[in-house]
């Protein structure tokens, strides 16, 4: 088996972990939203200045501060666009510049301006660094920025008014909320990426396992075949190889990747599980298993009872026909006309068969031990057991159980 030839599948774009890493991080849209917010807030602040500058004590300085805000908006928008610059120097400067704009406001507006209830010069624009801190560092950092700016704002007004405090409280809430949402988004993204990487790794492992299994099976089959031909001790080796070959083949023939397959011992007993992997456990060098290629779903408890009944039937074969007797297991599922259907499992051996009449005789004498345990299990599932025997063609046990459509 040439393993080198199949490496290409790892570059599957959906599953490539590198691709997932390159895709946009969940913070990006938030940084872009912040840029839009800054420009909108700048527009609002400028409008307030344009409407009110006549009442200011220092209107020229007011316009100058507006200019600083415009310049700083451009600086931060271009700065935060680069992930590398989203660090303390820029975050700190952002807060300092904004705080400076807030601090000069009372002086620009003059006592009359502030007392007439004008907002500070930057108005809503002061939320910019709060949101930047929140996006970069979560809700605590957002809250810290909000508190620092609130101190600057309220401390310089001299007295705290409920009106102006409302704005600060909203700013604090915004800082906490945005910080929280950012953390959640980042964590969700990380979880998704881990899951994607895990899935890619699993696929790869499965693919490698298939190749290795195939190689191992080839060698086991070869040993079995040549060993049997050579005879003697080699024949014994061949027989052992054959047993392992059958065990491994039954393990991988049905078990891989079917949605309805699963461990019947876990979870809800009505959860549908595929009957085939459960029966595959019984397949050996002497027991052949024939199933459909698609899953045969049964409620978990029915599937495990059915598998146990088949196991009992096979034990019966070994008991009556010897350990080397061959047996064949056939699984069929047939849909009925309305929703329901039947699942039939037949177990046939190539033993001498049971002479006519002996079966009833044995049943009457209560000597059908194992057969009774089969009947019991299947009857509990609402099914039927038919035992037939043709002279020279072995004995056949047919287990049929009804099921309601599981879809």
């Amino acid at each position: 088996m040439d393993h080198d030839g199949c490496g290409g599948r790892y570059s599957d774009p959906v599953l490539d972990p590198k691709g997932a890493r390159n895709s946009e991080s969940p913070e990006e849209p938030l940084w872009r939203a912040l840029a839009v917010f800054r420009l909108a807030a700048l527009g609002y602040a400028s409008l307030l200045v344009a409407l009110n500058f006549r009442h200011y004590e220092h209107p020229a300085i007011g316009w100058f501060v507006t200019g600083v805000m415009a310049t700083w908006s451009v600086v931060t928008i271009t700065g935060y666009a680069r992930p590398r610059l989203r660090a303390w120097p820029l975050l700190g400067a952002d807060l300092a510049v904004t705080a400076a704009c807030v601090v000069v406001s009372p002086w620009v507006l003059g006592p009359s301006g502030l007392s007439r209830g004008f907002a500070t010069l930057p108005a809503a624009w002061i939320a910019g660094p709060v949101l930047a801190w929140a996006i970069s560092g979560g809700r605590r950092r957002g809250a810290a920025a909000a508190v620092l700016l609130t101190i600057c704002d309220q401390g310089l007004r001299g007295r705290i008014t409920p009106n102006s405090l409302d704005g600060n409280v909203l700013m604090l809430l915004a800082g906490i909320a945005v910080g929280h949402v950012t953390r959640l988004a980042v964590r969700a993204q990380e979880a998704l990426q881990r899951a994607t990487e895990l899935e890619a790794a699993n696929r790869e492992r499965e693919r490698l396992a298939r190749g290795i299994h195939d190689s191992v099976l080839q060698v086991l089959a070869l040993v079995q075949r040549r060993g049997t031909e050579i005879g003697g001790d080699a024949a014994e080796l061949g027989r052992l190889a054959g047993e392992q070959e059958a065990a491994l083949r039954s393990l991988i023939g049905t078990a891989s990747g079917h949605p309805a397959s699963g461990d019947p011992s876990s979870g809800d007993r009505h959860r549908p599980v595929d009957l085939r992997p459960l029966l595959a456990a019984h397949a050996t060098a002497t027991v052949s298993l024939a199933t459909p290629a698609h899953p045969v779903p049964l409620p978990a408890h029915a599937a495990s009872e059915m598998a146990a009944a088949v196991g009992a039937a096979l034990a019966n074969v070994r008991q009556h026909c010897g350990p080397d007797a061959r047996a064949w297991v056939l699984v069929e599922s047939e849909d009925g006309v309305i929703g329901g259907g039947t699942v039939t499992v037949s177990v046939r051996d190539d033993g001498p068969g049971i002479p006519a009449g002996r079966l009833d005789e044995a049943a009457a004498a209560g000597r059908l031990g194992v057969a009774q345990s089969i009947r019991g299990r299947v009857r509990d599932l609402g099914g039927t057991v038919t035992i037939t025997s043709a002279p020279g063609q072995g004995t056949e046990v047919e287990l049929t159980i009804p099921y309601r459509s599981l879809s």
Binding site: R225, R249, T291, A293, S333
Partner: protein, 216 residues
């Protein structure tokens, strides 16, 4: 006339062993190759009667190789060998046109017998393959719309396939159903033929729906 056989298997030890067995049994091994693409290229010139094909090749899937072989040399018959018996792979290969399937662990006599029967035009079924084919007919019947032309088995064909799946030989089946050996063979072959025909019809229908037939 000797039967011309081509062996396709990527496992050199296995390929040589099979070729030697065939040679000793009087078959003419016209080619032994390790890749599907190579097999398809060689088939037109080597004109084998039977291709013994490993289902797991490094370059092409079993279905691709079988389609390629049948296109390159239509009279060829394909006997699949597989070590792992991946069920869907086996079923797909049969639907694509393979007429026989054997596990690699089969004994030498069983294998040589399968090659002979494949060359004679018989379908070579393991019990496992019979189970897959039965399941596929039931799946098609369930999935089909009422007006659909999904292939169906006759009652007798179903009966024969079930007996094959339960490990009875053709001889035992003939005895049990009181028919000739040949009749049993024909029934088995019909089940395969209908499935392959349906598969070809589906492919053509798919091609027409996608407008692929207008491409020249």
């Amino acid at each position: 006339m000797t039967v011309r056989v081509m062996v396709v298997d990527d496992h050199p030890m296995w390929r040589d062993g099979v070729a030697r067995d065939l040679d000793e049994a009087g078959y003419e091994v016209v080619a032994a190759v390790g890749e599907g693409g190579q097999a398809v290229r060689v088939a037109a010139a080597a004109r084998p009667d039977v291709v013994v094909l490993d289902l797991q090749l490094p370059d092409l899937s079993g279905v691709e190789v079988i389609r390629g072989l049948l296109a390159a040399h239509p009279p060829v018959r394909v006997l699949m060998l597989s070590a792992s018996g991946e069920q869907q792979d086996v079923l797909d290969a049969v639907k694509a046109g393979a007429t026989g399937y054997l596990l690699k662990s089969a004994a030498r006599e069983e294998f040589l017998d399968a090659v002979r029967r494949t060359a004679d035009g018989d379908a070579v079924f393991t019990p496992g393959l019979a189970g897959l084919v039965l399941g596929e007919y039931r799946r098609l019947a369930t999935a089909a719309q009422p007006a659909d032309d999904a292939p169906r088995l006759t009652d007798r064909e179903t009966e024969v396939l079930r007996l094959v799946a339960k490990g009875l030989s053709y001889k035992q089946i003939a005895e049990r159903l009181v028919v000739s050996h040949r009749t049993v063979q024909n029934h088995v072959q019909n089940t395969l033929g209908k499935l392959q025909l349906h598969n070809r019809v589906e492919l053509v229908r798919y091609a027409i729906e996608r407008g692929l037939d207008t491409d020249s």
